[in-house]
């Protein structure tokens, strides 16, 4: 029983077999070994199915049943870039670094294409996102071509940097699997504003490995705004050492299916992790935020606030696991997820999960689900504000509350714009 064109996992494995001698780093034994190992894992497990607990609410069947090719060799020529948020930006088209579109001149530290800097990446690649951890990480490891590599030396303030990912529609289904490696040495600082746009039948499967050393601070704002034909499955692994901070804020609004999966480990005392976000889905779309927080050291703090807005026949998922090791005394963990359902056909599945093995901890979580408040809506309308505008005001109020926690003003402005754009598109579609 052989299909004419291999689909899903088999298709990707076949592609790996055919491409492995051409992939970046094909002559580096360590990378070949890593990729081969990943292929074994991916062959054994394939795409996750809903029988796997972490994928109970998100069905990857549409991805597993499609056949995706590689992007075209190289997209040439001018490409419309999103509005710039920072002076320095790294631009990737179909997952490949485009130095001609990027503006990284004058930066003292290592920042640029991973494919062009593989030797420096060797000790770190696959250290946090191990091929055997998740099938999507295995897939990414097997086939990644490029990604952003940042290595900030001790004490350096890297300022504000942008990561722009653009997918260009080649007119047939295609997939790309960027691998981003971000390392901050002790006391370093960086704010990264990431924008993903793109169109076409596309699978964007990025994996991030983020290492925040002692006392370093990494602020990571993400705007996943591809069009409603795109599957966006991203996996982040972050390790935060003593006194370090990782701040993630993700706006997911646009793709047909978004999975925003974050694994953060607080590995040294007084480390902190903030994971916040707003995810929105319109008719026919699916958004999933799945976080896992590992409190492995004492005196660490984690804060999570996620907002979900669902319109039409759409589905949202929030799964948040907080694991407190026995050693992690005085852990301060907080998790909140709130969903706003704008239609009777929208559905949210929310699963908080606390596993606590230390006795002196403060951990709380909460969840709310509701429609727009009828009294609030009537109050606005009684003042002459038309119903659609009144709804928009209340949705914005709900979403803006999430963004208020973002202290970097440039980032907050960019995120707010992303939220408002989504709502404006809904209004136009309604």
């Amino acid at each position: 029983m052989t299909a004419p064109v291999a689909t899903g996992a088999a298709g990707f494995l076949a592609r790996y077999e055919g491409l492995k001698v051409h992939l970046p780093g094909a002559r580096k034994p360590w990378l070949n070994t890593l990729r081969a190992d990943a292929a074994v894992h991916f062959a054994a497990r394939g795409f996750p199915t809903r029988r796997i607990e972490q994928w109970k609410y998100t069905d990857l069947a549409p991805v597993a049943q499609s056949s995706f090719a590689e992007p075209l060799t190289m997209v040439e020529g001018a490409i419309a870039l999103p509005v710039a948020n920072a002076a320095h930006r790294a631009v990737f088209v179909d997952g490949r670094f485009r130095s001609d579109l990027s503006t990284l001149d004058g930066l003292a530290h290592r920042v640029g294409s991973l494919a062009q800097d593989l030797n420096a990446a060797e000790p770190f690649l696959g250290a946090l996102a191990k091929p055997g951890s998740e099938p999507l990480v295995a897939l990414n490891t097997m086939l990644f071509e490029d990604g952003l590599f940042i290595d900030l030396p001790e004490g350096l303030d890297g300022g504000l940097l942008e990561l722009v990912s653009i997918a260009v529609d080649p007119g047939r289904p295609f997939a790309f699997h960027p691998r981003h490696l971000i390392r901050l040495a002790a006391g370093a600082r960086l704010t990264l504003i990431e924008t993903a746009t793109g169109r076409g039948q596309c699978l964007h499967n990025p994996v991030f490995e983020i290492e925040v050393a002692e006392g370093a601070t990494f602020t990571h704002g993400r705007m996943l705004q591809e069009e409603a034909t795109v599957f966006h499955l991203s996996t982040i692994y972050a390790a935060i050492a003593a006194g370090g901070t990782y701040d993630n804020f993700t706006v997911a609004a646009g793709p047909r299916l978004t999975r925003n999966e974050i694994h953060a480990a607080l590995t040294g005392p007084k480390a902190a992790c903030h994971m916040n976000g707003a995810q929105m889905a319109a008719d026919g779309q699916h958004v999933d935020t799945t976080t896992s927080l590992d409190h492995a050291a004492p005196d660490c703090a984690s804060r999570q606030t996620y907002k979900t807005v669902l319109a039409g026949r759409s589905r949202g998922v929030f799964q948040g696991k907080i694991f407190v090791h026995q050693a992690a005394q005085k852990t301060d963990g907080y998790q909140m997820n709130q969903a706003l359902l704008l239609s009777e056909n929208a559905e949210i599945d929310s699963k908080p999960q606390l596993e606590i093995y230390a006795d002196d901890v403060k951990c709380s979580h909460g969840a709310t689900v509701g429609a727009l408040d009828a009294d609030s809506l009537f109050y606005l309308r009684s003042r002459g504000i038309p119903e659609s505008q009144a709804k928009a005001m209340l949705v914005e109020a709900f979403l803006h509350e999430a963004v208020e926690t973002v202290t970097d003003e440039t980032l907050r402005t960019a995120l707010t714009r992303a939220l408002d754009n989504w709502w404006a598109r809904q209004g136009a579609a309604a």
Binding site: S382, R383, G384, P386
Partner: protein
């Protein structure tokens, strides 16, 4: 002129308004008094179009227009304003944004030009000063963290900005201190004129010393059981509703 005839309405199948007949001619201020639960707020909600109230009979027209057939925002654009007994808190919606959006929505509906942020601020500050409200209340979320009295003043501020032709004030005096009561009354009196009318719902005769009504109506168990001049309020205060109803 507001004309209500034989108006009946129910909530969840329970009849609350049992045939209201009431006329408020343009330029007049009328007061409605009545015991708790008699249907005063229900009447104000039915007139302003809140969901969940089913009109089962009768009519309500304003200057000849059937207001019951309009959406709440259309009623507002037509000149109707309700000062809520319990103003709603809107976390995340800035008071200034709210007030300007409301004002501009109504101006737009009436074919007038919209105010920009500067023009609006100037106007709002002016009106707030008259109501002894601090500028700070523009920056906060709508009614969020406002004291009871501040919420009521915010209602009057909205009225002063939106300039309705008929205002229903549902217990705007409740919870106000004596100074605030005078300020609110002044706010209402400043609106009085040949093109403005009001329906003032209150439990206390004291308010009517400041806002002297043309007529006073007594609403009991979903019906207007008695109407009279300002002296009726004093009579109610002295004798209570039961005696007045018995005499009616």
């Amino acid at each position: 002129m507001l004309r209500i005839e034989g108006l009946t309405a129910e909530i969840d199948g329970k009849q609350i308004l049992k045939g209201i007949d009431l006329e408020v001619p343009t330029g007049e201020v009328h007061a409605i008094m009545g015991p708790n639960g008699s249907g005063k707020s229900t009447l104000s909600y039915v007139l302003s179009g809140r969901e969940g109230y089913e009109v089962t009979g009768g009519s309500a027209t304003f200057d000849g227009h059937d207001i019951l057939a309009m959406e709440p925002e259309e009623r507002a654009a037509a000149g109707l304003f309700l000062a809520f007994q319990y103003p709603v808190e809107l976390p995340g919606v800035g008071n200034a944004t709210f007030l300007r959006t409301a004002l501009n929505a109504q101006r737009k509906a009436r074919g007038e030009s919209e105010l920009d942020a500067m023009q609006f601020l100037k106007l709002a500050r002016e009106r707030m000063k008259a109501l002894s409200m601090s500028d700070d209340m523009l920056k906060r979320g709508v009614n969020v963290g406002f004291s009871g009295g501040e919420k009521k003043r915010n209602e009057i501020l909205q009225m002063a900005l939106l300039k309705p032709s008929i205002a229903i004030l549902d217990e705007t005096d409740s919870g106000l201190d004596i100074d605030a009561l005078k300020i609110v009354a002044d706010g209402v009196n400043a609106m009085r004129g040949p093109d403005f009318s009001a329906l003032v719902i209150t439990h206390y005769q004291r308010l009517l010393d400041y806002i002297v009504p043309d007529r006073v109506h007594v609403l009991m168990q979903g019906r207007i059981v008695k109407s009279g001049g300002p002296e009726l309020a004093k009579e109610l205060e002295a004798q209570g509703y039961a005696a007045v109803q018995a005499a009616a």
